[in-house]
Amino acid sequence: MVGPSGNRGSGAAVGWRALRMGGVVLAGVVIFGPLSSLVIWSFAEKWYWPHLFPQQIGLFYWAKVLQGDMLRALQDGLLIAVVVTILTLLITVPLAYVLARLPIPFKPLILMIFLLPQAFPQLPVFVNSTTLLYRVNLGGKFGGVVLIHMVGALVFAVWTMTAVFRSVPETLEEAAINLGASRLKSFFSVALPLATPGIIASTLLVFLYSLDEFTGTLLVGSPFILTLPVFMYRTSVGYELQVASISALMLMVPGILLLVLLERYMKSEYLSMFGRV
């Protein structure tokens, strides 16, 4: 009885394994196929149509890039992302806690207001912001780019962090308050430590958003402040495909690193609490 059914089972298992391998290979092709052309382009010193592969490969463009403007763009982009992340955290952690916990009126409205800039097409919103920022002398400045990034970053952060704080059971804080802890003490000793993984996840999202942000940076910052995405755009419209490929590859590194971290800290409870007030 057991033998035959066991055999049939292992036959099915082999079939499944083959199917899964096929799936992995397919996913690999879909994900890494387009990327491979970036890698090839970054090493191509001479590559004319109709050749399938570059006629001449080398490190010429990598060397050119690594000593030139791209490093500055990378540095500026990272600095902007760090500042945006810190400012966003300082604003949204207390705000999200208040939204999640305290009986304040118009909660849905407050959450909606943060969503508002996303409700309209990005380009007009950013064009308008640009003229506004130039008027107050922030156009083309570091501060202006930080501000325009925060328009988007705050939405991510407020919505996710409110969900994170809501996923911390309220009775845990009541237990602390019941024993004599003040609201502030309960926040720092109970809510904040328990929300930390979620806050880290949300922070990573904000950091990535700022690092990858393009439209606002191009309109507000360029040509005085360049981040990596804008730099990449400018080089690729200049038909320097090698430089664009290299910056695209560089741009992917922090993204991949942070997504690996994100997967560690993101919990499914956060999603179930998302957007609840």
Partner: protein, 345 residues
Amino acid sequence: MVEVEVERVRKTYGKVEALKEVSLQFRSGALTAILGPSGCGKTTLLRSIAGFISVDAGRIRFDAEDVTSLPPQKRGTAMVFQNYALWPHMTIFENVAYGLRLQKAPEAEVSRRVRKVLELVEIGSLADVESRKPAALSGGQQQRVALARALVVEPKVLLMDEPLSNLDAKVRQRLRGELRRLQRQVGITAIYVTHDQEEALALADTVVLMDQGRVVQLGTPQDIYLRPATAFAAEFLGVSNQLEGEAAAGRLVVAGQTVGYGGPVRGKATVIFRATDIQMEEPSAPAREGTMVLNGVLEESLFLGAHYRHYVRVGSSLVLADSPAPRPPGPVRLALPSEKVQVYG
């Protein structure tokens, strides 16, 4: 030891009146159980006493002190929650020590008192409480830690919100006994909210039965069980049989049969009795003084282990009757001691 007094307390949520002028006294040093179905207002009352809910009207006093407008931090109550509410990021020791550290007790005293209370609640080995987190413990053990966390601060009042409902039946039975022992030993005023009538009867010195934001009945467990004041109380306390009838002077018509009746109810009546109080006799047996007798037909019997449960058709109603011995189906006479039959208007 503190006496808790609740006076004409009201609380409304939108259109729902959670508490409708509730007045109660919780004796100092006693364990009072607030019993009722979900939504009866028992938890609202408990949370009002803890200070998590501010009441719309009325006063709450701990002895002479009016605490109605005090925030929860200043009331000196300690609560045990249904879901334990232990802090998962702290060790067992840190959980219990939290309240003492808030009071800025010296660390040597904190350590001494935490260990003492953990021994009191019989947490078992104290060796690794400073390294283990609550998640390493079973549900029953976690609730012991939660109890220790509440008791260690020597609160004026111990509040318990269905503390045993999340545990499985066996653990619940054992912890029930231990809770009773602990409360007596510490001599603390305790208020215990539950929807489990057996738990309330087993644990409490006084049982408060609530329904729809009102106190329905207050008394000793024996009182409540033997003399339920209303049809709701009787039903909630697990009375198995409820028949509609018509009462007049000297007689009662129930399920189409007329029986003797000396009580005050007139007109439409609800007749209530327990399955365990019924004696089953042959229809030809001689009638006895002081019993109410109904004739019926035994349709079905189930063996429940401790006893048999019989389904007896009386008129158009089905009456449940328990007996230790089996009985063949067929005509049967149900005899009920008059004092075990409750009639409500």
